[in-house]
Symmetry: C2
Subunit: 244 residues, 2 copies
DNA sequence: AAGTGGTCTAGACCACTCT
DNA sequence: GAGTGGTCTAGACCACTTG
C-alpha cells in the first residue's frame, strides 16, 4: 500500500498551499462530509511526510477560507453549510427580535429557466427549474417577498410534498432533503420600486420604493445552487460596511 | 542602556499577541510614521528577546489588521491612510471609468457641531467644527452630494485658502495639510428621498428616491476624524457583498 | 552581494476537551 | 489521562529587491 500520500506542488506554489488544495479536493469530493472531524494534524502530517508546522499552515489556510473550523482540544471539522443566511441583516423592522422571520410559500412551479437564470444557475438554458415565491413576516407583519429559483433535478425532493413543514429557514431544508450544503452566498443590493404582485403581498402600494437583494448561493464545489431575489420596503433597509 | 525591550503579557494572552499590541502602540504613538519601514524581523526579535517565528506571528497579526504591509524582499511598512475611499463602489454611473469623480466645494463654514455629530466626532458638544458641502460629478454629470463635518482645530488648515486647489480626493488633502491619516471607515447605507437643496445640486426633482451613505472615518488611534453623509440617485446604487 | 521577508523542519511544552 | 489544537524555539534554506 501507498502509506505516504505525496502532494506535488506546481512551481511557484508553496508546499502548504499545495497541501491545502489537496485537502480541499478531498473535502469537496465528500471524503469528509460537512460536520465531520478530519484526522489530527499529526496524523495528516506524517501521512503526507511533512513537518507538523507545514500541515498546520495548510489547515490554517482552509480555516481562513471557511472550509473547516478548528476547535481547540476537540479537533478540526468540515464546516456545516450556512444556517440561515440572515437576510434580516439588510433590514430593520420594528420590534424584531433575533428570531428568524416566519415563512410562507405562496407558489411553487416547475418551469423552464429563462436564459439569465439558467446561466447563473449553471444548468443548461431551457432546463427545468423549480420556482418558489415566498413571503416572510416579522412580528406578524409581511416584510420580505422572495422569488427563488432552484435547479432540477437537484432539488426534485422539494417539488413534491407539503411546503408547510419546511420551517422558516430554507438552507437547513436544502441540506436535509436534498443534500445540498450552501457554503457561500453573494448578495447584490439595489433599489427599485414594487411591482403589483409583490406590493399586494407586502401590503404596500404598487410603485412603493423597495430594496432588492439578489442572491446567488454556492455549494462547496462552487456550483451555483440558488438564485433568489428578495424585495423589502426601502425605508426598512440599512446596512453597515467597514472598510480598511 | 536597556538593550532588551521586554513585553509582559496579560495572563491568557499569547506572547505574539502582546508583542503585536506593543508594536501597535509604538506605531500609534508615531514612532514610525505612515509609509515608514519598521526594523527587520530579526532585529525586532532579538530586541525583544524572542524567537524569530514569534515576532513574525506578531507582525503577521498587525498585517491582518491592516496596520502594516509586508513586502517580500523590501521590508515591513506602516500603512498609508486610505487613498480615496472610493464612494463609487456604491454607485454605478453611466460610462464612468475608474477615474475619481470631479469634486467641487459648494460651501464651507465654521459652525458649532450639533449634539449627534459632536458625539460621533469625539469632540465636546457644541465645539467648533468645519462643515463642507461638496458636489461630485462623473462624466460632467452631477452624481453625488456630500455634507462633511470635520473637527476643529484639527482641520483648521482647511478653514482658510482656496478649496479649488484641493483636488478630487479629500483624504490625501487631510494627510498633507492636516497630518491626519484616515485608516478605517465605517459606511452605513440607507434609503430616503432628496431634500430641496441636494436635489437642485444633483439636477433631480425634490423628493426623488436617493441612497444615503453615512460615513465615519477613523485615524490610526481610533479617533473619529470625519462624519460624512453622501447622497446619490437610488437608481444608480448597487453594491455586492459576499458572505461565508 | 547584502538585506529583506517567506518557507520548512523537528521538537518541546502548554491549554483545552472529553471520558 | 489521552488526545486535540495552540504556542514557542532555533536554525536552515529559499525568493525577492536593491545597490
Amino acid at each position: 500500500m501507498c502509506a505516504l500520500r505525496v502532494v506535488e506542488s506546481e512551481p511557484g506554489q508553496s508546499r502548504y498551499a499545495a497541501l491545502a488544495a489537496a485537502m480541499r479536493a478531498r473535502i469537496v469530493a465528500g471524503e469528509w462530509p460537512p460536520g465531520c472531524a478530519i484526522p489530527a494534524e499529526q496524523t495528516l502530517a506524517s501521512e503526507h511526510g511533512v513537518a507538523l508546522g507545514t500541515m498546520r499552515r495548510a489547515l490554517d489556510l482552509l480555516a481562513e477560507q471557511g472550509l473547516v473550523e478548528r476547535i481547540h482540544g476537540r479537533g478540526t471539522f468540515v464546516r456545516q453549510g450556512l444556517g440561515g443566511a440572515p437576510m434580516l441583516r439588510f433590514f430593520r423592522f420594528g420590534a424584531s427580535g433575533p428570531d428568524a422571520p416566519k415563512s410562507r410559500i405562496l407558489a411553487r412551479e416547475r418551469v423552464a429557466a429563462p436564459a439569465e437564470i439558467a446561466r447563473a444557475l449553471a444548468c443548461g438554458p431551457g432546463e427545468q427549474a423549480l420556482r418558489l415565491k415566498r413571503l416572510r413576516s416579522v412580528g406578524g407583519q409581511p416584510a420580505l417577498h422572495e422569488e427563488i429559483w432552484l435547479p432540477l433535478p437537484l432539488f426534485s425532493a422539494l417539488a413534491e410534498g407539503d411546503p408547510g413543514g419546511w420551517g422558516d429557514l430554507l438552507y437547513p431544508v436544502f441540506a436535509e432533503r436534498c443534500g445540498v450544503h450552501v457554503h457561500r452566498a453573494v448578495d447584490t443590493i439595489g433599489f427599485g420600486s414594487l411591482g403589483v404582485a409583490p406590493a399586494r403581498a407586502l401590503r404596500l402600494p404598487a410603485g412603493h420604493p423597495c430594496a432588492r437583494v439578489q442572491r446567488q448561493a454556492f455549494d462547496l464545489a462552487g456550483r451555483c445552487v440558488e438564485w433568489r431575489t428578495t424585495l423589502g420596503d426601502a425605508n426598512a433597509f440599512h446596512y453597515t460596511v467597514s472598510i480598511t
